[in-house]
């Protein structure tokens, strides 16, 4: 199974993502950015689904730390956010996220398609 890390402070969203992705991927989850960053080296995720509005260190800052680490510079990271204004997508892609998925999840195939496309770039 491919390894996914979820960094999301909302317990209901973690539950939902596990329901959608748990049969297909090996998932680890963290409720805040520092815990996720600490676990990168041991869990070695192949893709990170990263909430933007995290308490303390927000998702953009977490991404900055990921990109600053040579071991994870090219790790695919999807912004997972309830910010859904018309210019938010380009804003987050501009920050260096590989894709952008909005909450609430209405069509799970959009999420699954994004993950699949990004994982295709990463050797299993």
């Amino acid at each position: 199974m491919r390894r996914l890390m979820i960094i999301e402070d909302n317990a209901d969203n973690r539950l939902l993502l596990n329901a959608i992705l748990g049969d297909t991927f090996a998932i680890t989850e963290h409720a805040n950015g520092p815990d996720g960053l600490t676990a990168l080296a041991t869990e070695l995720p192949e893709l990170v689904l990263l909430d933007i509005s995290l308490p303390g260190m927000d998702g953009v800052e977490v991404l900055r730390h990921i990109r600053a680490n040579p071991d994870f510079r090219h790790l695919p990271v999807i912004a997972f956010t309830a910010h859904a204004m018309s210019d938010d997508r380009s804003k987050y892609l501009g920050h260096g996220f590989d894709d952008y998925i909005t909450k609430p999840i209405v069509d799970e195939t959009i999420l699954l398609g994004s993950i699949s496309r990004l994982l295709d770039r990463v050797p299993a």
Binding site: N10, A11, D12, N13, L16, S53, A82, I105, E108
Partner: protein
Amino acid sequence: MPINTAQDAVGDVNALKRLERFGGSKLRAEITLLFLQEAPSRIASARAALDAGNIEGVRSVAHMLKSSAGQMGALGMQKLCEQLESPEHSPNLSLLLTDLDHELVRYIAWLETAPQAGAPT
């Protein structure tokens, strides 16, 4: 003047059916329970932030609750959270939080009448 009115839609049954599609009646029940446990304390923490003059704190809680409300199909709550997040509604935050309290009560009542898992549409 209330921001939300009793005529507005309270809930979206399609959102509940989506939860069932994602994870069956078990997921729907678990997420519903989490939402009903957490929503009152989130509204209370937004109220506490407002009382402390922490407008960003109010917006942060509203943002989190908006996502959960959207997933639960709590349309009225989602709309109120969007308004709480918006700078243009800053003068109305106290009123919006009161409306959000009332809307949670309306949503709970709506949930009790919503079709249960597996029920025909």
